[in-house]
Symmetry: C2
Subunit: 368 residues, 2 copies
């Protein structure tokens, strides 16, 4: 996937792991939360095949933390999250869509309750910090809002447990999915969660202090040699196969979590009050008119899309593709698309405009 | 300036002009407001030499607009801006630092008053929309906040007036600096301002409707041939020479506008109330301890910095460089640095750590 080089500047921030990533060697970057995020190493396909078989170290420092701390932290976190966080407890991670007053998605972070008065939102690509700051200022809340020096490093792949055990001891493999704990490493206590943006299993290590980034990378790298460890990153093929939605790609502020199939993360039947709840209740009552769905496009391998591309059912426009890639394992192109709700049913055949022509596409539910 | 390729995706948005930019041919991108922003074409040095002599078309669509509209728009815009916008009038542009409650910079947009109840902030690289949304939600303001389909195209360079006159007629060259008006083009009324992120003079055309981007580019390109027009972009050398500060590079939320030398854009002596005013008043009373300054580093040409680099005065750390580049016209490396206030005086000699060694650096006021 050739692309134009990215120009270095402080504004597009390096991470604690950049030096190792770039000599891995990296072959492509994206930018995420004003920070460099690796996109490919060997190639999309090679990275994907390796990820599904072995274990990889991912520099996902760009998943920045928005920390909300203080007497009103619980109140603010709760009103920001479509998922009821009132009973959030330390040690658990919560996938939490954030919505504006119209129910439009602002981000889809993982919320971590560190203490009764201290939360992290581990965010996708948008300045949640500004949203939180604005709310706190407008409501006169007693909170401190900051982006701490915390940089997640993910260990992903079927051999992740073995590698993590080698570095942090057997206890780390006792962690349940979306739980976190604290583990010793060279005198530091590291927050580690069983989580990560793949369906291959693994962990996210929340490194607290840029200065120790290279040491952490090197320790894991060394321990990983018996497991054929490689540098990797969130992989477009693997995440589309797994139906992992990407904020900014598959979901924007023009979309609601109900349209994105995230109903189960929206606490519409609880008595919690969050911003966007009334809009979402109204939409649930009237029914969504659009939905995210999968598309299978049996054709020659297509290039990943750089923009939305239109879909039609007969002569009628019926939505657009948000992400697409060729999957070697499915031997087919796979896409995620926002489609008219009545179209988005399993097995329906439509057409999508890709690489200069209309191609037949079969709707399917996510994940593939 | 080699760099790793940027990976295409919808999340890193293309602009209405991307097709022309990439065949210009482009040689480097950056990402700005979740959008592609050209960083180099021929080379930093060639682009710079051409910009200072002729005229360039710049795809600065990434300078997104945050539109605030409605009965409380004036109130919200005023409270967000350190510059008093109460008497802002249609037809004028206002450089306006935005600060949080601690006086930390959130962005430094150009504010355009389109009507008494309708403002645009033409923003630098951060989600001002989220800050505005949060304030409006928290304060219960009656406003609509959106990012309209508006993409600035800048025409910059000493021949900009001639080129603009050829396309839009003689009237456009009557525009005064930081004024805007509406000009006809193929049946559209385009907002055009005399502004732009260089010191070479020029205009910004606020294209309203992505669909007409290529036509606008082509019309200007064709009219520009007699003036040796080229595709260009904000140029690192030219902007550092001119002391144009870059949010995210030279200024962050850790810095106040007073530390950045933007005192004259902060209405601290008026009775306007804006967020951050009391913190800034307090800082003005006690005096700043750090200031942005220029540094001249007479040495072999250095690479642009990808991160802050430390400065010292004798053995004492005294700040860090935020941007740096070699200037052919000054035949010297030029840098912008955040330095201890007592150090930042004209003519003071310090040392800066660049490309692996400590180098002598002479302080100077900005612009160079």
């Amino acid at each position: 996937m050739p692309g134009f080089p990215i120009f270095a500047s402080r504004r597009v921030r390096q991470t604690p792991f950049t030096e190792r990533v770039e000599s891995a060697p990296l072959s492509g970057y994206t930018v995420y939360n004003h920070m460099l995020l690796p996109a490919t190493f060997s190639s999309l396909e090679d990275d994907y095949a390796h990820l599904k078989k072995y274990v990889q170290i991912w520099d996902v420092a760009a998943e920045r933390q928005v920390e909300i701390k203080g007497p009103d932290a619980h109140k603010l976190a709760t009103m920001m999250s479509a998922r009821d966080l009132r009973k959030a407890v330390p040690g658990k991670c919560y996938y939490a869509p954030l919505t504006d007053a119209n129910g439009g998605m602002l981000n889809d972070p993982i919320a971590l309750c560190l203490a009764a008065d201290r939360f992290w939102f581990s965010i996708a690509d948008s300045d949640v910090l500004y949203w939180a700051l604005g709310l706190a200022e407008g409501l006169g809340l007693n909170v401190e809002i900051s982006e701490p020096d915390v940089s997640p490093l993910a260990i992903q792949g079927p051999l992740a447990d073995q590698l993590m055990t080698a570095v942090f001891g057997a206890e780390v493999s006792q962690l349940k999915f979306f739980n976190f704990g604290y583990f010793d490493w060279r005198g530091h206590s590291l927050l580690i969660a069983r989580s990560g943006w793949s369906k291959q299993g693994g962990f996210e290590i929340y490194l607290h202090d840029t200065a120790f980034g290279l040491q952490l990378w090197d320790d894991i790298w060394q321990a990983g040699e018996p497991f054929s460890v490689r540098a990797g990153c969130p992989n477009l093929i693997e995440r589309i196969e797994g139906g992992l939605l990407s904020f900014g790609n598959d979901m924007t502020r023009s979309d609601t979590p109900l349209e994105c199939g995230l109903d189960k993360y929206c606490s519409l039947d609880s008595d919690v009050e969050f911003i966007g709840k009334s809009a979402l209740l109204k939409q649930r009552d009237s029914g969504v008119t659009r939905s995210l769905a999968g598309l299978k496009i049996d054709d020659e391998p297509l290039r990943p899309v750089a923009n939305t591309t239109p879909c039609r059912s007969g002569d009628t426009p019926c939505g657009y593709i948000t992400s697409a890639v060729f999957s070697p394992d499915f031997d087919s192109n796979l896409a995620i698309a926002m489609l008219s709700h009545e179209i988005s049913r399993d097995g329906q055949t439509i057409e999508a405009y890709l690489d200069g022509q209309w191609r037949q596409a079969v709707c399917t539910t996510l994940p593939f």
